[in-house]
Symmetry: C2
Subunit: 346 residues, 2 copies
Amino acid sequence: MNGQVRSFGAPLPARPTLEEVAKVAGVSRATVSRVINGSPRVSADVLEVVGAAIAELNYVPNRAARSLVARATMSIALVVPEDAHRFFGDPYFADVVQGISNRLSDSDYVLNLQLTHPDSPSEKTRRYLLGGNVDGALVVSHHSGDHFLASLGRSLPVVFGGRPLGDLAHPGDYYIDVDNQRGARQGTQHLIDVGRKAIATITGPSDMPASVDREAGWRETVLAAGLSDARLARGDFTEAGGIRAALRLIDEHPDLDAIFVASDLMASGVMLALAERGLRVPTDVAIVGFDNSRYATRGRVGLTTVAQPAQEMGRVMADTLLRLLAGETAPRVTMMETHLVIRESA
Amino acid sequence: MNGQVRSFGAPLPARPTLEEVAKVAGVSRATVSRVINGSPRVSADVLEVVGAAIAELNYVPNRAARSLVARATMSIALVVPEDAHRFFGDPYFADVVQGISNRLSDSDYVLNLQLTHPDSPSEKTRRYLLGGNVDGALVVSHHSGDHFLASLGRSLPVVFGGRPLGDLAHPGDYYIDVDNQRGARQGTQHLIDVGRKAIATITGPSDMPASVDREAGWRETVLAAGLSDARLARGDFTEAGGIRAALRLIDEHPDLDAIFVASDLMASGVMLALAERGLRVPTDVAIVGFDNSRYATRGRVGLTTVAQPAQEMGRVMADTLLRLLAGETAPRVTMMETHLVIRESA
DNA sequence: TTGAAAGCGCTAACAT
DNA sequence: ATGTTAGCGCTTTCAA
């Protein structure tokens, strides 16, 4: 230790082993093991003595040794097949991850973060996931077009956040989702209810189920009301994409009086674009977003939006996987409720 | 497998062990181990035979067994003592984490995500970090006021993103940072150079070194130019906080003609607030931000900002920790360069 | 250059 | 209720 470097080669106090605890407590290793694992087959006094020894030595079981015999790693992969900015930039994911993390902190599992390329996870990630390094995986992304991930469920318990894309999905996939189509209907219907007639939509990429479903919900609703479904632009679930899509929409359909936008983040961009063109919200154009994220309350005018319980979805994802890992039953599909949150934009 | 649940109790093809590889290759386990670990003490033909066997069986070493004997977990904690929204909402962190992840994907280490409460990590996190479950830790946060984390470096190799707060810091801490004070001088000086006289600042919480240093850099520069350092408001590194601080500033100092804002995210809020009050950027008020994140190019007018190499900082954090874990020397402090990126706002 | 054997720290039969 | 024993899959002396 010379002021410039510090050696960790020989960690200060070597961690005590179960054997040492046994010695101090004057019992066998098996007994200590039983105490640690909460076996009912231990007498009260032994439990006390062992407990004292554990506390005294500050004993913590060795995960590796435990994993080796238990044939379980006690860790779960959080797979993020998404560009880091896209992922971090969307509050929806923040909530999902928070929910996952919360649920997991009550368990013995830890979360391994695997940031991967959207279209093809690295060789290292594949080997990692398939090499028995995790007991299960959680896949969070809007984007589920990858074959590897789609088939991952065949080798490992996997729970997806959002329905995996149809034709790639393994029929046995577990996923948590909201009824995006129904949510879109709620949002679009509200625009109709407040008297709008020329209702456009800005949707997401066509390879994402959430996009497709929200678009379908919008279309269904406008058509059912005898309105046109011609006013559509495709965004990419980013704010900048929302701006571009809105500008395109305004240019092509100057008559529009409302836009149902497939995410709050994009809606935030739409607001910017409308301001740019001197259009007022909601007077000239009414807006409904999707997510009820912090972007909904960011701007001057609050965003009316279709709320989805993102954090709860994360919690349920983790919970579902934990059930599976415990050998319990879990529903393949868990649909959560959306509801409309009305603010000033529509 | 009844359509509703699926059993993973008995994973399909049991993973091959080193022993089986040895059998197939007709050598001893020790030899296979040598091949796997790239020992030079293996003949060319044995190497080939073993390689073939490994490929044939699709063998992947068992991490737990390896960890057990190597007394290393081969995993690193990514500790995030920050509210999830704060963390995910700031592109700075996205870059840092991306950099960390990139560096780690070239290594054998995996990243364990530990989302913890800003002021006091949970008991579980503490036990986890101190219980020998990771070989080292990376702490990313603007906020380093916690004693536990500050002292973590005593028990474990730890690398901080950003200088830990002075009085709490262990003198042996490793950290990666930029010279925030110098960056703030660059930004503020630019405002002076373009002719501004009434230069305000919006800084961050006073318990964050980055805030304190950026504020000091601003003050130093305005005072050196014979200008006033009276125009100051404190934000919280969020966009909403930027809005509030800007409104306060405008009300108290209606004469201001420039603001140096301690982060792009807050600067984005400032832009919103100025628009609200009908003030034009840069005509009425010039703005300089800090980070050069995507928020700098989000609005109508591009933000002039002090760039810091966030992704590179993450990469270096990981690299430093990896060095330490390899028993190599690493600099305790790595300072990276900031530079001014001039756009339209100033 | 290769193999035999010991053991990392823990759990799980099997005895008692 | 508790102890004894046998490994989990790997690396690593030590011999050959």
